[in-house]
Symmetry: C7
C-alpha cells in the first residue's frame, strides 16, 4: 500500500486561491503597468480557485475569482503561496464561456 | 470552436458600477464646478450599473445608481476602473421614464 | 416621443430630505439666533421629505421630519443639496393637522 | 378653515422628554446642591414625557422618566430644549399613585 | 384625597440596587481592610435590591446581588445613591436560607 | 430557629471558580517554573468549580476547568478570591476518570 | 482502585491542537527556510488535533488542521504547549488518503 499522503481539504466556507499575477493590470501602450488608482486596501485582484469547503456553492475549482488584495490569510504549500478566503468575501467569478452572453449577472466584460 | 473567454459574473449581492463623471455636480453660471459642501466621506455620486449578482433585486444593468464616493472596492478591467458595491449600499436609482411621475418612491427630481 | 429623462427613485429604506433652514431655531426677542446648547453631533434639525424608498412606511413626501444634524449622506441634484437618511434614523414627523390633537404619539407641540 | 399647523408626532420607539431641573438632587441642610458622586456619563436624571412613538408601550405622556444625563439627542421647539430618547434607554418611570404600594416593580421610593 | 406621590417603578430588565459597604472585604486579623487584588474594573461587590423591572425573573426586592464595581449608572433618590443595573449584569444572588444547602447553583459559600 | 445565613447562588450562565495555583506549570528538572511562552492575555490556567448558575450544563461543582488567565471578574468571599466566569468562556474540563479513556472529546492528556 | 486521574476533555466547539514545527515552510535548495511573505497575523500554520469538544463535527483527533499563527489561546500540559482554537477558526484539514482524490473540497495539494 502506497504511503498515505495528507491531502489538504478546505473547511466550512473557505476557498483556497492562487493569486494570478498581472490579470486586470492597466498597461500603457508601451506595456508599462499603470498603478491602480484605489488605495491598496480597496483594490480587487484575481486568483484561481484550488479548493472549496463543503459549504461553498457559488464557485468551483479552476474558476477565476475577484477578491480584496489586502486583509486575507496566506499559507505556503509545497513552496507556493496560496490565499485562503471566505466565500462571502468573493466579489465576482470569471468562468469559461465561448459565446458572449449578457445573463443577468454577466457584465459583458471579459478577463 | 472560438477560444473560450472568461466572462466576469458578479456574485451574491455585488453590483459592478462605472462611475459617471460630473453628474449632479453644481456649476456656477460660468460652468465652474462648485465643490460640494459635504465632507468627501459623506458625499454621494452617480454611476452606471454594468453587472449584478444573483441576489440583486432592486437595480439592473444600465441603471444609474447613487452611492457613497468613498469606502468602496475598485477593479481595473480592460483599462477602465469599475466600482464594486453591495446592493444595500445603494441609496437611489435613476431609471428612464418618459413622463414625469410622482410614484411613491419617485422624487420628481431628475438627473 | 419626448427624450427619456432619468427620474430619481429612492431605494430600500432610504428617505431624501431637503433641509429646512431656521426651523426650530431659538431667537432672542431681537430676532438673533440663540445657538442650541447641544453639541452639534447631538442636535436634531428639521427637513422636508422629497422621496421615500419602497420599504418606508412612517413618513411620506411633503412631511417635515426630525433628524440628526451630523452624520448623514448628501447629494447635489440640479444645484440643490439634499440629505439622504434611513427611515430608522428619523425621530419625529410634523404633519398637517388643522385642530390641535393629543393622539398617543402627538406631543401637542407644533412647528 | 384655520391655517393647518404642523403637530410634532414621535416616530417608532422615540420618546420626547422635557428635563426636570433639580429633581433628585442632593442638598445639604442649608439647601446647597451636593454634586453627585458618579461621573456625568454615568449619572441618571429625571424628565417629563411630552410624546411617545407608536411602538412605545411602557410610558405615557405626563410620566416622569429616568435617563442618562449624557449621550442623547436634543431639539429646540418653540424656544424650549427637549431631549429625544429611545424607550429602551429609559431606566425607570415615576407615575402618580396615592397610596404607597410595593408592587413587584415598585421600589417604595418616591420622587 | 392624599397628595398623589410619584412612586419610582423600574422598567424592562432594570434592577435598582443600594450598595452594601464592606460586604466581602478582606480584613487582616487586626481588622484592617486588605485591598482586593483585582483591578477595579474587574472587581465584584454586593448590594441590596430595592426594585426590579417587569422583565426581571431571577432576583427580587431584599436579595443581595453581586455586580461589577465599575461601569454602571447611578441615581440619587431622597439623598441616597442607588445603582441601576440590567438583570444580565448580575453575577450571583445571596438569599436567606436557614439550613446550609448545596443546591445545584449553591456554592456552599455564605455572605 | 438558626439565624438565616445568605448562601451565595450563581446566576444565569455564571460559574464561580477558585484558581488552582501551579497546575500545568512547566518546571525544569530542578523544579524551577519555566514561564509560559504565550503572552498573559493568551494564557489558559486551571481552577476548581465552586458554583454554577441554573443555565450551566457542561460542568459541575468540583470539576477543574480551563479558562483565560486575564480578563475575568473576581470577588472576595470569606477572605478568599474567586473568579467569576461565563460557561461559554470555559475551554476544557478535567473530570475524574479511573481508567484512561479516549472518548470523542477526551484528549488522552491528564492534569 | 487506581488513583482517579483528571483527564482533560475539550468543551463546546473547542479544539486542542499541538503545533507541528516546520510543516509547509519554504526552503531554498540549500534547505534554508525562506520566511513567508505574509505578515505574521495573516500567516496560517499546521497543527495536529489532540482533542475536540462535543460540538465539533468537521475534524477529529489525529487530523492536521490549518489555523492562524497569531491570536489563539495556549495551555501547557505535562511540559508541552498546546493551542486551543474554536472549530470555526480552522481553515483546512489534511487527512490521510492513499490515492490522490480531487473530491469537491480536495485541493489536490498535499502536506
Amino acid at each position: 500500500m502506497s504511503d498515505p499522503r495528507l491531502e489538504i481539504q478546505m473547511l466550512h466556507d473557505r476557498v483556497m486561491v492562487a493569486p494570478v499575477q498581472g490579470e486586470g493590470e492597466r498597461r500603457s501602450s508601451g506595456g508599462i503597468v499603470i498603478p491602480a488608482t484605489a488605495q491598496p486596501a480597496k483594490r480587487l485582484v484575481w486568483g484561481e480557485v484550488f479548493g472549496t469547503g463543503q459549504h461553498v456553492r457559488s464557485v468551483s475549482v479552476g474558476d477565476r475569482v475577484l477578491y480584496a488584495q489586502d486583509d486575507h490569510f496566506e499559507v505556503d504549500v509545497t513552496g507556493r503561496t496560496y490565499v485562503v478566503l471566505r466565500e462571502r468575501d468573493l466579489h465576482a467569478v470569471a468562468s469559461e464561456t465561448s459565446e458572449p452572453t449578457r445573463s443577468s449577472s454577466g457584465t459583458g466584460l471579459y478577463l
